[in-house]
Symmetry: C2
Subunit: 445 residues, 2 copies
């Protein structure tokens, strides 16, 4: 088994491809990188003699299956909605399958068949989900082994900017898929707090933030992310009173973003037919109440208790009060907002991104509460070797390397929560500067 296929050669694949290319000679492997753009794939393999690039047409069954047939294992770096097709192909062709995406209901429906075919379908191998599980499970297993009881676990992660690139009022630029950023948090977020279930509708989410501090970086805001209740089982913490997974933004971001949520500007469920010459400020005004006041800033300040001068500054900086014509005939509010954001939140050539992750455990140990804070800070090198590409791609690359070396003998549909995976992966990540700093305090009861 020595033929690797990576589908998708976009931004997040850079470090993944580099790491695996470096193993080709010494471990006698072959790598195929397939992308819609053969040029992009070609660029990424850097003329390595044991690597090849090809174009893939995802809608062409024959083309897709033919490419997959050449590999022993497939890594899909495609957007999550394209995974069902590739997963189905892999099952048919009996290829192992790896992704950095959430395990989906579709994959769960294939669970038995995957196992029956003695295949490994390993998802959630990137940053979040991925590195979060691995680093958390190491602490959870270790505390349990000591006979300690974990009473609270909160885990936060964010893809943000290095301090020196935080040069706009939002302290934010797109370092990953803009559409996902605009839609982030939609649905109901769920967690458990002191034994009480908590359900947060989307329109409350960006108000329910907690302050999270990273040494030398200052303050961040964390908001609860998706369904944390599910992770009681994943993390083998079935009876834990408090469990929350959250997303990090820079301080001040959520209060301003919440205005877009409150107004309905992130809605992707219906399309507006835009009148001709519909501008940024028309778009904003469409979501404001019909009032006599014509000054849009005043309407915002009067109608929304959370709007203050700082929020107005952020909205103004994005150009939402401007009479710039919008280039759409029909679009969802979320698509229009994304268009406006993309003009402003682009990374500059010298910008560097930042990935931050923090686990906060409260552990009952010998009658006292011990607080463990485990933090990761990873800064991007440049626009190609971003912190995001590194933290998403390296865990996946290391896992595939271990699997090909026969060091992971797991089969079935899994996510990386077992020592067999996280021990060697976390060890190897240290060699690449991905290190969790641990701080332990004992709280007075």
């Amino acid at each position: 088994m020595n033929k690797i296929l990576i589908i998708g050669a976009g931004k997040s694949s850079t470090n993944l491809i580099d790491f695996l290319i470096n193993t080709l000679e010494s471990k006698n492997r072959h790598l195929i990188v397939a992308d819609i753009s053969a040029d992009l794939a070609l660029k990424k393999i850097k003329n390595h003699p044991k690597a090849e690039a090809c174009s893939i047409d995802l809608n062409d069954d024959l083309n897709r299956k033919k490419i997959i047939a050449q590999a022993d294992l497939v890594i899909s770096m495609l957007p999550a909605n394209l995974h069902p097709t590739i997963a189905q192909d892999c099952l048919e062709a009996k290829k192992h399958f790896f992704t950095a995406s959430y395990e989906s209901d579709h994959l769960r429906s294939l669970k038995e068949e995957i196992l029956k075919n003695n295949l490994l379908f390993l998802n959630e191998c990137g940053l979040d989900p991925g590195l979060d599980h691995m680093s958390a499970m190491k602490i959870i297993h270790s505390e349990k082994e000591k006979g300690n009881q974990i009473v609270s676990f909160k885990s936060y992660c964010g893809g943000l900017l290095a301090l020196e690139s935080e040069n706009n009022p939002w302290k934010y630029k797109f370092t990953w898929n803009p559409r996902n950023v605009v839609l982030a948090g939609q649905g109901t977020s769920r967690y458990i707090s002191d034994g009480q279930f908590k359900f947060i509708p989307y329109h409350q989410l960006f108000k329910r933030t907690e302050q999270i501090v990273f040494e030398n970086l200052g303050n961040f805001e964390g908001y609860p992310n998706r369904d944390s209740l599910l992770y009681r089982k994943t993390y083998q913490l079935e009876n834990i009173p408090t469990l929350l997974r959250g997303t990090l933004r820079r301080d001040g971001f959520c209060k301003a973003w919440d205005i877009f949520v409150q107004l309905g500007m992130t809605d992707d469920s219906y399309s507006i037919e835009l009148p001709s010459q519909y501008t940024n400020i028309n778009f904003l005004t469409s979501f404001l109440p019909s009032v006599a006041e014509k000054d849009v800033k005043k309407v915002l300040l009067n109608s929304y208790p959370n709007v203050d001068a700082e929020v107005i500054e952020k909205i103004e900086w994005l150009g939402l009060f401007e009479t710039t014509a919008l280039p759409f005939k029909k679009a969802t509010p979320a698509q229009i907002l994304q268009h406006i954001l993309e003009k402003k939140w682009q990374l500059e050539p010298n910008d560097k991104d930042l990935v931050v992750m923090q686990h906060q455990f409260e552990v009952y140990e010998k009658g006292k509460i011990k607080k463990i804070t485990s933090s990761l800070i990873c800064k991007g090198e440049n626009q190609e070797y971003t912190a995001m590409a590194k933290t998403v791609g390296l865990p996946l690359a290391i896992i595939v390397d271990l699997f090909l070396d026969g060091k992971i003998n797991l089969r079935g549909l899994e996510i990386p929560v077992m020592p067999e995976i996280y021990e060697p992966v976390l060890q190897e990540l240290k060699n690449h500067g991905i290190v969790f700093e641990e701080k332990i305090e004992t709280l007075n009861n």
Copy 2:
């Protein structure tokens, strides 16, 4: 053509059935009333010799089609989600089809086939939609004929309580389908105001109310309902600067109801697995932020700027602060809230309901703005002959009567916006006490 089939003999069908029964002898007609409960149908036909009752099993194709085959025209009083099946049956069996429900996309897909078969499928024949269209179109056509220009049209309707039955802090009880009341307003409401499109997400809807006054009844609150933009075409008001359709509640209702919306308690999109002994107050607490404060009332007052003593009184009166166990293992928030509301918002034997409707037109006439306010107030007689049953059922009954008399020659998929229908219907409704009072003022420009 003289055989009428009414499917659904529930609350809203009382006046409909009565009216049509009264025409059977004189016009030599036959009426079949079909319901899941044959007993209920039997009770409604009051032993009339030319009427018969039968049970219908909507899931039994043969049974359903056999019953439909006996009629010349079918009136469906079923919940709107059951209409596609009946409509399809009617098309196959070549029967005319009438409802008080919104014209659906499904029906629109059948448009050509309906016309080809020379059938009339007439929807939106009840109160709202129905009477609203008819009474509005009479004014719109009349003003247009005078050469006047309608510059603003707002129309509100509500199913509420007679003054003497407003004996709880909400001044509200269920006078129609409780589930629809809990889910009312979900999605995005749309209208146009001074030429500017307005989009209101659900979580803003109950804050965007306007005060609506009915003489002798006092103040109501109107909130924008569904997609008013569509009615520019329906009402032949393509270029109108302001058009809004809204729903009425008693003053003070929306501010308190909004708290349920803000908290996420009306969400029907996911299910909660309720721990055993989960109570009303646990349910409420699940939607509150995790804070140190344990007094739920204080949390509400501190976290939501719109919560005041009156809102707390309303929530308390519903029993939401009580430790009453909930009888569910798994339910959506909306289902749980409906259960709590149904215990408190039940009509008492002597309660009477109230239907209110108001059209507000601003018309440009000879250089001045004329304001026309057309209001309907209809009070129920008792729990059987409710205002809702009367205002939903009578327009439909009168339309069917006219159709069978050959006085409506329309064919195809339609809603009642033409003089051929609204003139005789509004005239006949006056004989039943359903009268719009018109007030005309001339505004200073």
